[in-house]
Symmetry: C2
Subunit: 113 residues, 2 copies
């Protein structure tokens, strides 16, 4: 069993194309023995965003702090802390922080490797 405060997990800048002012913590990964899905915690600084993209796997998201615009092909919707977001495979998506405060969310993905 692993128990850790997420703040004690290494915070790494996301350098993917299209990412701006975003950092990631791998909260539960294959290194912990997870075999089916992984938990990450993202920090999006004010003015920052994840890439606008799509891929073959789904996201299961919970907004922890702040507020994010969730962009899809149908436009943007605001998701404050406490929001649950499910993004099916092959659906375009982006998380944008248009506020002056840090936004933070949990994002889980299935094993893809």
């Amino acid at each position: 069993m692993k128990i850790a405060n997420y703040k004690d997990i290494e915070l790494r800048e996301v350098k993917d194309e299209g990412a701006k002012d975003v950092a990631i913590r791998w909260a539960v990964s294959k290194d912990d023995g997870a075999k089916n899905f992984y938990m990450r915690v993202f920090d999006v600084r004010p003015g920052g965003n994840t890439p606008y993209h799509k891929h073959a796997w789904e996201h299961e998201v919970f907004i922890l702090d702040g507020k994010l615009d969730v962009v899809s092909e149908n436009g943007a919707r605001t998701a404050p802390a406490g929001s649950v977001v499910f993004i099916p495979p092959e659906e375009y998506h982006q998380f944008k922080n248009v506020t002056g405060e840090l936004a933070r969310f949990i994002c889980l993905i299935p094993k893809t490797d």
Copy 2:
């Protein structure tokens, strides 16, 4: 894409044997089209607990509010809000709220059906 505030999702009492003062919201389930893993949000009221048990699937947990004792075969460890917990398959576990405040956590499980 689904976006919902978790508080708007139906809260159901957990009636499993060994559960006390625990309620669940199914935040992302197969009804949303999730095919690999599911997200639930649990409320554990003061004095409440989940069953002490083990099973073939893992848990990936994030403590949102309050503080929980995480019980295993090695005893109890306190996990305050912000804690990440990974419970591997076939490991005994229980979440106990020994405080006077509500405790809340996210718990993800792989598809088991």
